[in-house]
């Protein structure tokens, strides 16, 4: 390796390090729920800049400089909710559902939509409270704005074994590792399955509550605590009361305060 090529390699490595560090710090300013989304969005643009042979350092530093303002703007949603500004509620009886978030939903955006599966429980309707969990515990809750029927199931996955279990290894250049077959790839593959399924949207009232309750604690709030199904009904007001007793500050959110006022 010549001196010139060695220097170029060093400069590139420094640039990559600077970009990675800037984005990592910038993401810390954002609410936890938005970090994955903006990480993907920012890296997509930096990736395009790299292909256009434009330096990525300056845009990455600008992103970092504007991150506090952005975090403030994104948290405004929570502040508006806390102030009792408009939120969507049905006037009818509200039921609550505990749903295991599908791996594909995690890749889409659990804060905005959730895939319910090919069979829609008869009683799930607009205005119901949707409580999402993953294999660790609670993710968050929101009121269902819309239930839609889709013909295709779209998800990202490994290009070799199609598993959705991908881990983001490195930011730039992006690198994913499949935890099923070990394949390393720079881009995820889009896998489209023709099957009818139902999905909800609940982004307008979503409240992030990641890790505040474990799966065992959530199961205790269900109508049938020993049921193994992916969608389970929660006892009326049980989730809201549990959250209010453990975390009184959660009453700031209308979707949780409503049921506790009734009971």
């Amino acid at each position: 390796m010549t001196f010139a090529s060695k220097s170029a390699w060093r400069v590139e490595a420094m640039e990559t390090g600077l970009v990675d560090s800037s984005i990592r710090v910038a993401l810390r300013f954002l609410p936890a729920d938005y970090r994955n989304r903006y990480r993907d969005e920012w890296y997509a643009e930096l990736d395009e800049m790299e292909r256009g042979e434009v330096s990525r350092c300056r845009p990455a530093l600008r992103i970092l400089l504007n991150a506090p303002a952005m975090g403030w703007a994104l948290r405004a949603d929570g502040r508006h909710q806390a102030a009792g500004l408009p939120s969507v509620f049905s006037t009818g009886e509200q039921r609550a559902w505990l749903v295991f978030a599908h791996a594909a939903t995690i890749l889409i955006d659990p804060s905005t939509s959730c895939i319910l599966g090919s069979r829609l429980p008869r009683h799930v309707k607009v205005g119901d409270l949707l409580v999402l969990r993953n294999e660790v515990g609670l993710l968050g809750a929101g009121v269902i704005d819309q239930v839609s029927e889709r013909d295709e199931f779209r998800r990202s996955g490994c290009r070799k074994c199609f598993s959705a279990n991908l881990v983001h290894l490195r930011e730039f250049p992006p690198l994913y590792r499949c935890m099923h077959c070990g394949e390393l790839s720079r881009y995820r593959m889009l896998i489209v399955t023709k099957s009818k399924h139902y999905a909800t949207s609940h982004g307008r009232t979503w409240v992030a509550m990641r890790g505040l309750l474990s799966n065992k604690e959530l199961a205790a709030l269900c109508v049938n605590p020993k049921a193994q199904s992916r969608i389970q009904e929660l006892r009326p007001g049980a989730f809201e009361t549990e959250m209010a007793s453990r975390y009184p500050e959660s009453l700031r959110y209308p979707i949780l305060a409503r049921a506790t006022n009734v009971t």
């Binding site: 989304r37 903006y38 993907d40 969005e41 920012w42 890296y43 997509a44 643009e45 990736d47 395009e48 800049m49 292909r51 845009p59 990455a60 530093l61 600008r62 992103i63 970092l64 400089l65 504007n66 303002a69 952005m70 403030w72 703007a73 994104l74 405004a76 949603d77 508006h80 500004l85 408009p86 889409i108 779209r154 990202s156 290009r159 992006p174 790839s185 881009y187 995820r188 593959m189 889009l190």
Partner: protein
């Protein structure tokens, strides 16, 4: 119902870019190139507009491994957002016009005379 958004010159520039081609899908880099704003500075504006319900965003529906690039996040004005954006831009133009007219009609700020405040 649309929320309020603090109107700055940069916000108006972003809205103007989105309004130029309201049916198109705009992504961050494209918006920053079209509006002339720096890449990093448009994201707080887009976040504010999205939370207020003026714009919506969604991921591009592509196969990353086929396209050889990451998916973009596309932004689009909502129906109400587009109407509100137009009215804000018209309002800003009206204000600027009235300021220009008042300047051309002969009004001038009082100029201090020499010696004022000394006697």
């Amino acid at each position: 119902m649309l929320g309020k958004v603090r109107m700055t010159v940069q916000t108006l520039q972003v809205l103007q870019t989105l309004l130029d081609r309201p049916m198109d899908e705009h992504y961050g880099l494209g918006i920053s190139e079209a509006s002339g704003l720096a890449t990093g500075s448009i994201y707080p504006i887009l976040a504010r507009l999205e939370i207020a319900g003026w714009i919506t965003s969604e991921w591009e529906d592509i196969d990353e491994s086929v396209e050889g690039r990451r998916r973009r996040r596309y932004y689009r004005l909502t129906y109400d957002g587009a109407a509100k954006a137009r009215s804000e831009i018209v309002e800003m133009q009206r204000r600027l016009t009235s300021t220009r007219d008042s300047e051309s009609s002969g009004w001038r700020p009082a100029t201090p005379r020499p010696g004022w405040g000394l006697t």
